[in-house]
Amino acid sequence: MKGGFRQSMAWLHTWSGLLVGWVLFAVFLTGTVSYFRAEISFWMRPELHAARVAPDAAENVLRRMHALAPSSSSWIINLPSERDPLARVFWRDPSAGGNRFRRAILDPATGEDLPARETLGGDFFYTFHYQFHHMPVLWGRWIISVCAMFMLVAILSGIVTHRRIFADFFTFRPRKGQRSWLDGHAVTAVLALPYHLMITYTGIVTLMLMTMPWGVQVAFKGDNQAFSATVFGLERPSPRSGQAAPLAPVMPMLDAASRHWGGAQPGRITVNNPGDVTSTVQVFRVDDDRLSVNRQVVSFNGVTGAMVSASGGNRPAAETRGVMVGLHRGVFGGGAMRALFFLSGLMGTVMVATGIILWAVKQRQKLGARAGAGTRLVEVLNVAAIGGLPIAMTSYLWANRLLPVEMAQRSAWEVHVFFIAWGIAAMHPLLRTHRRAWVEQLGLGAALLLLLPALNAVTTHSHLGITLPAGQWALAGLDLLALGFGAALAFAAWHVGQPVAEKRHARHPARQVNPVPAE
């Protein structure tokens, strides 16, 4: 290797990052906002904003479930919490399409259905970040797993390439063209390096049953169900007997489960075969009070209400996996922890963005007008991803407020708006000079974000003028973040649009920032 190790790792870092950089940018950004998935979903359903947590929610909701789905083979009830004060219920119904589940949102105080506008809410960003949309689910997950593996290699080879880890905490040289992009890339990479490594590795691990199934082949002879039953304790429920028996009161079960966990709260109830002598009730502990996502379940006989079993402690490997997935989801440490993860995720997003921009800037500097179609392609894709995705995501929120509430296929149309906006943003840089494309897309993104709170004020009764005095931070937070991001994009648009940057370095043509490409 004769001293070429760092050089070869630099090459590997550049190409493993560049080839999948645009996908990584989209995954990082949609994944980062998903730390606030519940808040986004809540914001996107203004009809529900008046709901409040009720202490007897479980009884109210179960009463309603008997009327909604008396002969279903299973009910799944997500109990309301401070972050999401609504009861989200699902039940198995063989006559339902798709995954054979029906769903409803119930008022925790009365158990009545809460009619809300049809929307995917924050779940759209969340599922997009690991499986895309308009694509078979497995394809999306495979593509993103492969890209995440590239990311892991890019991070590791980047660490090798980069020897001044500590010094770069304090190094940022603004307005120095390529230098600034390199500094920006290094500072966002280094400041949150443990996070980047953690989020990438744990992200890959969340999908490992799909990408690395070979151990199950040799140790369980390919019997995935036996493996899952051992690891996750998934028991197949027995069929209905047809002999009716009323369901025992559920509040004592919740209390018993809570006592079993030393006072921790239940977060979800599932009822199998409700109203039948074979009925069972499983109570799941909330998952935001501990690091591991491995579920803790207490099972009850549905007719007698007696405790039947409780999931015990996990073995080390299962617990390690649970902790990895828990770290990835970042729901364990309350609001401050989520905010820290959110900031780290933003740094990861900026790290990817500055990395792919740096490549294009370097090429331009090296080759100038002689730079070929490859450089131009990277530049166009950079604008389409970095400029376009914020436009698309914000358009999705705009569509949520502007599309008629009673519109057919409403939630699908919100998603259509997202992809139409992104598609236009992807075409736009082909027709403009590189600098104009940046300024216009960053400017449009800024305008959409800065005006979002105003749109919210015009279309709903839960705007900043009401949510701030009432201390409804879950709702006000989204409007405030939109203002913050809008200001950041506006600054970026202004900065890129400044002709000064070029003139400052006119005496050193080799150091030009972002030269306008030849058409």
Binding site: M9, W11, M208, L209, M212, V218, V231, T320
Partner: protein, 99 residues
């Protein structure tokens, strides 16, 4: 940021192609062998399977880095084969022999 793997451009591109195949397919193959081998370690089988799965991606990342750090494409492939052989032997003894 160029890497001089061979004096000739065509040779260099072939070298990069061969290293990339080694890194992606060979790296995944080695990671899979590691996952399967760990899955057969003594103890509760589900635990061993999970350790194997979780560790396999570190193996793959190391293999990919090796493939581009090695002095030549041939060395890259050889460097994957050497750890693969004992893993295959271990699997052969535990699975192939019994079947």
């Amino acid at each position: 940021m160029t890497i001089h793997l061979s004096p000739h451009r065509a040779g260099r591109n072939a070298g990069i192609g061969s290293r990339s195949v080694a890194a992606i397919l060979g790296g995944y193959g080695l990671a899979s062998l590691a996952a399967m081998s760990l899955a057969l370690l003594p103890g509760p089988p589900a635990e061993a399977v999970l350790w194997g799965m979780m560790a396999s991606y570190a193996v793959m990342a190391a293999a990919v880095m090796w493939c581009f750090a090695a002095g030549s494409a041939l060395r890259a492939w050889t460097g994957l084969l050497i750890p693969a052989l004992p893993l295959v032997a271990w699997l052969w003894i535990n699975v192939g022999g019994g079947a």
